[in-house]
């Protein structure tokens, strides 16, 4: 059996659900699960996000079949943070291609659920680590190309080609202050205005990665 998290599930005909899962070693998969309310079958209540499951599945192609599901751990995500948890899941759904082994994403998501359930105060750091696992790694003490130390007084920009480099007023990258970048690198708490600046940076970055396709959970995670 393999460890997995449910990122999304929706009813599929009467007795089944269509489930998007993040597995520890096999990446992101989509499965159909026949569920029931009786013991012995896959219990409907088990197919919920925020639980670490051990699963067995079979089949080939786009949609496979869940054979067995056991619950290993239930993360008690506070009700007020459910939307944020779904948002983290959607980041994985949108940024991680299917069936690409990504144990680092699994670990980062596991940490994210732990942070959510332990009322971690700096969820922007959690999000930073999750994005890094998904290939959006911009936290660095030096510029990516020239390896020049980040200066707190300067502004930097991020592009997926070059990474972090000194910002110029002609280029179109997403800007970030040197101070903010250094604080992120040292995992220091950000003050309110830095948090706001960072949120804008993240939204812009994710939006660019998704080619403008909106994240459906974003509004719930940050505006309510």
């Amino acid at each position: 059996m393999e460890s997995a998290f449910i990122l999304h599930r929706r009813p599929y005909h009467e007795h089944s659900v269509l489930v998007d899962l993040l597995t520890e070693h096999s990446g992101r998969i989509t499965c159909i699960a026949r569920v029931a309310k009786r013991k012995g079958k896959i219990m409907r209540g088990t197919i919920e996000p925020f639980r670490q499951l051990a699963i067995e599945w079979f089949g080939r192609g786009e949609v496979q079949t869940l054979r067995q599901v056991e619950e290993r751990r239930h993360y008690a995500v506070p009700i007020s943070q459910i939307a944020r948890g779904l948002y983290f899941g959607e980041l994985i759904l949108k940024l991680l291609p299917k069936e690409l082994a990504a144990p680092e994403v699994f670990t980062a998501y596991q940490q994210a659920l732990f942070d959510l359930s332990s009322n971690h105060q700096a969820l922007y750091l959690t999000e930073t680590d999750l994005l890094a696992s998904l290939g959006l790694d911009f936290v660095t003490p030096v510029t990516h190309k020239e390896s020049v130390p980040i200066n707190a007084q300067y502004h930097y920009q991020y592009t997926s080609d070059v990474g972090i480099e000194l910002a110029t007023h002609t280029t179109q990258g997403i800007r970030l202050s040197g101070q903010l970048l250094l604080n992120l690198y040292q995992k220091l708490l950000l003050d309110e205005s830095q948090q706001k600046q960072y949120r804008q940076f993240l939204d812009h970055l994710i939006n660019q990665q998704l080619g403008g396709r909106p994240l459906k959970t974003r509004k719930f995670a940050f505006e309510h």
């Binding site: 309310k37 996000p49 009700i79 459910i82 899941g89 719930f220």
Partner: protein, 198 residues
């Protein structure tokens, strides 16, 4: 051949019903065509007239043939209590199991951002308008204890907080992932009377 496709069309259409797979649909279709064409016609008429006539209550959103449902029109109920549920079936379950004399608001679903269901789809502005009338003093959250049900309860409680209305949540004697209309009456009555400050 068009007669074959009419049969196939009927069988396929029947599989839209809960618990009806291909085999059952086939049995139903043959039963109607071989034994009971009269009842079949009646079913067809009942179905299309229900679909045509039944809409949503303008106040609580539940299913009704009229502008307002029977419960909303019942002036004998307690307007200080409003119970929020996901489905019309939940209203029936609570009416049968719990001694509740207040009114309902039926979401006809739950918040599910990944599926594109937000506050607009659930017409939460209608709920907000009822709360703004100032008569409700207890808002009872009876959404299911699923992830989305909890998120919906949380979102609605925020609406109530803005209007300074006391919010309660039915107790979780209800199994996780269970649905109100499946839970037995005793458990539901217990969950309802044991509701707690939210």
């Amino acid at each position: 051949m068009s007669d074959v496709s009419a049969l196939q069309h009927l069988i396929n259409s029947l599989t839209c019903l809960p618990s009806v797979g291909k085999r059952t649909a086939q049995r139903m279709a043959f039963h109607i065509l071989e034994n009971d064409r009269g009842a079949g016609s009646e079913l067809a008429v009942a179905l299309s007239s229900a679909i045509e006539k039944i809409g949503h209550c303008q106040r609580c959103r539940t299913l009704t043939e009229n502008d307002y449902c029977r419960l909303c029109l019942d002036k004998g109920r307690d307007e200080s209590q409003l119970c929020v549920v996901e489905n019309p079936a939940d209203v029936l379950a609570i009416e049968q199991a719990a001694h509740f004399r207040g009114y309902y608001f039926v979401l006809m679903g739950k918040l599910s951002p990944l599926d594109g269901v937000g506050p607009e789809e659930l017409e939460l502005d209608k709920l907000d308008a009822i709360l703004a009338e100032g008569k409700v003093t207890e808002l009872i959250l009876a959404t299911n204890p699923s992830i989305e049900g909890e998120m919906t309860a949380h979102y609605i409680s925020q609406l109530a907080v803005k209007q300074l209305i006391n919010t309660t949540r039915i107790a979780h004697g209800v199994p996780i992932g269970g649905e109100l209309d499946y839970v037995d009456k005793g458990t539901l009555a217990h969950a309802f009377s044991g509701r707690q400050q939210y």
